[in-house]
C-alpha cells in the first residue's frame, strides 16, 4: 500500500512539473500577429524604388513568350516582354508597342499597326516592324511548336509558310520601319485579342539566334524589367529595364519571384512581411484573412474569368438523351457547392462567365437547382423514380461513371455530384485519374461518359469559351477540346456568324442566343466560376487585380520605407490554443 501511495505521489509530482513546464513554455510563446506587421511611410504620391517579392507554388519553365503559356511563366513574361496590344486595368484592348489601335480595312481583313517611336529592347537596340514580323514568324514556325498556333491560323499564307513552300507569311507585310500590316483569310473579331496575347510579343532575332534552345533562360524583351538572376527551383530576380519606354515606370527597382513555395510557408512569410502579395491560400488562411478586420483593407476577392461544370458525353448513353442532361443540370445544388467550398466559388448556370460579351444574368434557359424540373425531365427521358421510404432519395435507375482529376479537389466535386444526382436516381461512380490520362482519354470520342471539367480564358471574348468548348469543329479523333462531344448545327452557324460580326451590339446578341442554346441543351451542367483572393501588404499601393492577366504586378508601387507595427509579446495561450494544446487554454 505504501509503495502504491508513493507511486501516486510521484506521478502527481511529475504531472505538476509537466503542467508547470507547459505553462512556462506557453507563457513565453509569442502570440501570432492579429494583423499586418508592417505599414507604409504614408506617401501620397507614387514613388520609385524598393523590391516587390511574390511567389508561386511550382517551378518556372522558362521565359519564352512564344512557347511558354502557363500561369507561372506568364507572370514573368508580362514583366519582360510586350506586344503591339495589351489590356488596360479594366480589361479593354489598348495599344502597347503600337502607337494607336490598328487601322482596319473596310473588308475587315487587313490590320495596319504603327509602332511607337523610340521603343528599344532591353539590349538597347531599337525595335522595328521587321522585329514584329520575325517574332510572329518564329512563333508560327513548325520547329518552334508553339501552343499559340491555333490563335493565328486565319493569317493569310500561314499554311504555305508552315509547309515550307514560302519563306515568309504572306499575310504579314512590313511597310516601313515602323509600320506592319496583317492580312486575314476571313474576317475575325478575335484577331486583335490574339495580337494582345503573349504569343505575339516581340523578341530580338539576334538574342534567339545567340541562345537557340536556351533562349527561354536568357530573355530579352521590351518589358519594364530584365532578368537579373535565376536560380532554378528557388527564385527569379527581375531588375528595372533602363531602356523602358514609359517615363517613370516601373516603380519598384526589383521584383523577386520566389519559386516552389507552398501555401502554408508562403502565408507565414506573408504574415511576417517577407512576401508582399499572395494570391493563393489554404482554406484556413483564406478564412483567417476574411475574418480579420485588420487585414480587411488589404485583400480583394473577385471572380476569375473561367467556367467549371459537369460535362456529359452526348455520344454515349444515357447522356445522348437531352432530358437526362437537363435533369442533371437541374439537380445540381450550386448554392450548396458554394457553401461547401467556403464561397471560394461563384455558382453559375450558363456557359459564359460574367464580364464577357453575351453574358446575361437572366439568360433564357439558365440552369438552376430545381428538383421538380429535374425529376420531370427524368420522367420525360423514360425513367420512373420511386421513393418507397419517402426519404427524398429515390431508388437508383441509372449508374454513370464520372472521371475526376486526382487529388482532394476533384474528389470533393465528384462527391458533390454524387450526392446531388442520388436525388434523381442516378448513381455516380467516381474514377480518379492522373491529369495526363484525363486529358488524353477525355479528348477521344465515345470514351469518357462524364467528367468534371473547366476552362479559363485565353482572352476576354465569348468565342474563347463557346467556340472551343461547344463548336463541333472542336471535335477530333484525338485531343478534342469539345469534351462533351456536343454537336448542334444551329449553334455552329450562330458561332461562325458571331465570330466575324463587326457590330459589337449585334455580336453580343448572337452570343446571348448561343449561350442560351447551350444552357438549354445542357452538354454540361454548369456549376461555378472560381473566385480568387489577392492579399497584399499595407505598403503595397495601387494594386488592383488585372481582369485578364493573373498576378500582374507591373503597375503598383511600394510606399517605403515601411515601418514595423509593434508586435505583441506574451499571451502564448493564443498561439498554443491555435495548435490545439489543451493545457494552454485558460
Amino acid at each position: 500500500m505504501c509503495s502504491i501511495r508513493r507511486t501516486d505521489a510521484g506521478l502527481a509530482k511529475r504531472l505538476r512539473a509537466s503542467l508547470l513546464l507547459g505553462a512556462l513554455v506557453g507563457a513565453g510563446c509569442p502570440s501570432p500577429p492579429q494583423g499586418p506587421r508592417w505599414q507604409g511611410a504614408g506617401s501620397p504620391t507614387p514613388r520609385r524604388g524598393g523590391t516587390l517579392v511574390f511567389h508561386h507554388e511550382s517551378d518556372v519553365r522558362g521565359f519564352d513568350p512564344h512557347t511558354s503559356f502557363d500561369e507561372l511563366s506568364n507572370m514573368g513574361i508580362k514583366l519582360l516582354f510586350e506586344g503591339l496590344l495589351d489590356y488596360d486595368a479594366d480589361g479593354h484592348l489598348v495599344p502597347r508597342l503600337a502607337e494607336a489601335m490598328p487601322e482596319v480595312s473596310d473588308d475587315g481583313l487587313t490590320y495596319t499597326f504603327r509602332l511607337r517611336e523610340g521603343i528599344r529592347f532591353a539590349s538597347g537596340r531599337p525595335v522595328t516592324a521587321e522585329d514584329v514580323r520575325w517574332s510572329l514568324e518564329r512563333m508560327l514556325h513548325p520547329r518552334v511548336g508553339s501552343p499559340g498556333l491555333t490563335f493565328y491560323t486565319n493569317l493569310e499564307g500561314l499554311d504555305a509558310y508552315r509547309d515550307g513552300r514560302a519563306q515568309h507569311i504572306a499575310g504579314i507585310r512590313v511597310i516601313d520601319e515602323r509600320t506592319v500590316a496583317f492580312r486575314l483569310r476571313a474576317p475575325d473579331q478575335t484577331f486583335l485579342y490574339a495580337m494582345a496575347m503573349t504569343f505575339a510579343n516581340v523578341v530580338p532575332r539576334e538574342n534567339v539566334e545567340r541562345w537557340g534552345a536556351e533562349v527561354a533562360r536568357h530573355p530579352v524583351g521590351t518589358g519594364p524589367y530584365v532578368l537579373e538572376s535565376w536560380e532554378p527551383g528557388v527564385r527569379v530576380v527581375f531588375r528595372r529595364n533602363e531602356h523602358y519606354w514609359r517615363p517613370g515606370r516601373p516603380y519598384p527597382d526589383r521584383q523577386i519571384f520566389e519559386l516552389n513555395l507552398s501555401r502554408e510557408p508562403a502565408f507565414l512569410r506573408f504574415l511576417n512581411g517577407e512576401l508582399d502579395i499572395i494570391h493563393r491560400q489554404s482554406p484556413a488562411d483564406y478564412l483567417y484573412l476574411k475574418r480579420s478586420p485588420a487585414w480587411r483593407p488589404y485583400w480583394v476577392q473577385r471572380p476569375s474569368i473561367d467556367l467549371w461544370g459537369y460535362a456529359m458525353n452526348c455520344e454515349l448513353p444515357p447522356f445522348d438523351n437531352v432530358h437526362v442532361r437537363r435533369a442533371v443540370a437541374h439537380a445540381i445544388d450550386r448554392q450548396r457547392w458554394a457553401r461547401t467550398r467556403l464561397y471560394r466559388i461563384r455558382p453559375t448556370g450558363q456557359p459564359l462567365p460574367p464580364g464577357l460579351l453575351g453574358y446575361r444574368p437572366d439568360l433564357p434557359h439558365t440552369q438552376r437547382f430545381d428538383l421538380e424540373i429535374a425529376r420531370r425531365e427524368m420522367a420525360l427521358a423514360g425513367y420512373t423514380l420511386r421513393d418507397p421510404d419517402g426519404d427524398g432519395i429515390p431508388e437508383p435507375v441509372l449508374t454513370v461513371e464520372m472521371w475526376i482529376g486526382e487529388g482532394p479537389t476533384g474528389q470533393v466535386y465528384g462527391e458533390l455530384v454524387q450526392s446531388d444526382l442520388r436525388r434523381i436516381g442516378i448513381t455516380v461512380q467516381l474514377k480518379p485519374v492522373s491529369f495526363p490520362v484525363y486529358l488524353r482519354e477525355s479528348g477521344k470520342p465515345r470514351t469518357v461518359q462524364s467528367l468534371m471539367t473547366g476552362w479559363s480564358q485565353d482572352f476576354p471574348d465569348p468565342a474563347d469559351f463557346l467556340d472551343i468548348l461547344f463548336h463541333s469543329r472542336a471535335i477530333h479523333d484525338h485531343d478534342s477540346e469539345n469534351r462533351a462531344f456536343y454537336r448542334n448545327p444551329e449553334l455552329d452557324a450562330l458561332l461562325d456568324e458571331a465570330r466575324v460580326e463587326r457590330d459589337r451590339e449585334r455580336r453580343g446578341r448572337l452570343y446571348e442566343r448561343a449561350a442560351s442554346i447551350v444552357a438549354r441543351d445542357a452538354p454540361w451542367a454548369f456549376t461555378f466560376n472560381s473566385m480568387k483572393l489577392d492579399a497584399w501588404q499595407p505598403y503595397v499601393r495601387d494594386y488592383r487585380p488585372h481582369p485578364v492577366w493573373d498576378n500582374y504586378y507591373a503597375e503598383l508601387w511600394l510606399d517605403l520605407p515601411r515601418r514595423r507595427i509593434a508586435r505583441q509579446v506574451g499571451g502564448g495561450g493564443t498561439a498554443l490554443a491555435w495548435l490545439g494544446w489543451p493545457w494552454s487554454l485558460p
Partner: protein, 311 residues
C-alpha cells in the same frame, strides 16, 4: 572480396536496368506526355509536333532502345517540361537534397544513437520508459504535422529559423536546412534509438562486457568502447539501406519547407508526366540504393571481424 564486390556490382547494374525499364513502360503507358506538358489548350497540331520532336510518335520499343543507348552514352535526355538536359536539372537539385539528407542523417544518428544508449544504460527506469515513449511519438507523428508545427512555432512565432526556402549563400542554405532536416530526422532518430536500445540491452548483458567491467573498465567505457561497437552493426545496415532517401529526398518535407530538392523534383516530374525527368530521378535513386546496400555490406565486414566476404 574483389569477386564478391564485382558480383554485387553486376547485380546492382541489373537491378538499376530492371527498375529503369519498368518505369519506362509505366510512364509511357499511363498517359500522354504531350498533353500533360502542353496542357488542355494545345491543339491537335501542336500535340503532333511535340510528339514528333520528342520521338513519342515512334514505336515504344524504338523509344526504349534510343533511351537506353543514350543512358549508356551518359545522355539522360531532355526534360519535356524544362527543355533542359535531365542531367543538368538533376545536377542542380541533387546537391540540395544531399545537404538536407546529410544533415538529417547526422541528426538521426546523434539523437537516435544517443537516446538508444541512454535508454539502455537506464534500463527499466522512468528515463528508459520516457525515452521509449518518445520514440513511439517520433515514429507515429506524421511529417506533415510535425513539419507544419515546427514551421509555425520555431520559424514563425519565435523566428529562430527562416520560414522555409533555400537561402542565398552556403551559410544561408545551411541555416535554412536545419529545421527541415530536423523534421526529416525525427522518424529515423526514433527508429535508430529503438534499435540501438534493444541491441545495447542485449550486448550489455554479454560475457565480454562483463569481463571488461571485471577488468576495471568503467560502466560508460564498457558501454561505449565495447558494447556500442557491436550494437552498431544493425544500425549500419539500416543506414546503408536508408542512403537512398538522402538522394530521393523527402517529398512532404521538401514541400512544407519549400526546399527545392530531388523529392520535389520527382513529384513535379511525375505530375507532369515528364518521362525523361522521371527516369533520370529513378536512375539516380536506384543507383544510390544499390550503392548504399553495397557500402552497408562492406561496412559490416569492416566492423565485425567475424564477417568475411566470400565469392
Amino acid at each position: 572480396m574483389t569477386r564478391y564486390v564485382l558480383r554485387r556490382l553486376a547485380w546492382a547494374l541489373f537491378v538499376v536496368w530492371a527498375a529503369l525499364s519498368l518505369v519506362f513502360v509505366l510512364v509511357h503507358g499511363v498517359g500522354d506526355p504531350a498533353a500533360a506538358t502542353l496542357g488542355p489548350r494545345a491543339g491537335a497540331e501542336q500535340l503532333r509536333e511535340f510528339r514528333r520532336k520528342h520521338g513519342l510518335d515512334r514505336p515504344l520499343l524504338e523509344q526504349y532502345a534510343r533511351y537506353v543507348a543514350g543512358v549508356v552514352r551518359g545522355d539522360l535526355g531532355t526534360s519535356f517540361r524544362d527543355e533542359q538536359p535531365v542531367s543538368r536539372v538533376i545536377a542542380t537539385r541533387l546537391p540540395r537534397t544531399l545537404l538536407l539528407g546529410a544533415l538529417a542523417l547526422a541528426f538521426e544518428l546523434v539523437i537516435g544513437l544517443g537516446l538508444g544508449i541512454f535508454a539502455a544504460l537506464r534500463r527499466n527506469t522512468i528515463w528508459d520508459t520516457g525515452t521509449v515513449a518518445l520514440t513511439f511519438v517520433g515514429i507515429s507523428a506524421p511529417t506533415f504535422v510535425t513539419g507544419l508545427v515546427f514551421l509555425y512555432v520555431f520559424a514563425f512565432l519565435y523566428g529562430w529559423f527562416p520560414v522555409g526556402g533555400y537561402g542565398v549563400d552556403a551559410l544561408d542554405h545551411l541555416r535554412h536546412a536545419i529545421l527541415p532536416a530536423f523534421t526529416l530526422a525525427i522518424f529515423g532518430a526514433a527508429t535508430y534509438a529503438r534499435l540501438m536500445r534493444s541491441e545495447m540491452v542485449e550486448v550489455l548483458g554479454s560475457d565480454y562486457v562483463r569481463t571488461a567491467r571485471a577488468k576495471g573498465a568503467s560502466r560508460l567505457r564498457a558501454a561505449l568502447a565495447h558494447a556500442a561497437r557491436n550494437a552498431m552493426l544493425p544500425v549500419v545496415v539500416l543506414v546503408g539501406l536508408q542512403l537512398s532517401t538522402l538522394v530521393s529526398g523527402a517529398i512532404i518535407t521538401e514541400q512544407i519547407y519549400a526546399w527545392p530538392g530531388m523529392g520535389r523534383l520527382a513529384f513535379e516530374a511525375i505530375s507532369a508526366l515528364d518521362a525523361p525527368l522521371v527516369l533520370g530521378v529513378v536512375l539516380v535513386t536506384a543507383a544510390t540504393v544499390q550503392a548504399g546496400n553495397l557500402l552497408a555490406d562492406i561496412a559490416i565486414a569492416a566492423l565485425d571481424p567475424r564477417v568475411r566476404m566470400t565469392g
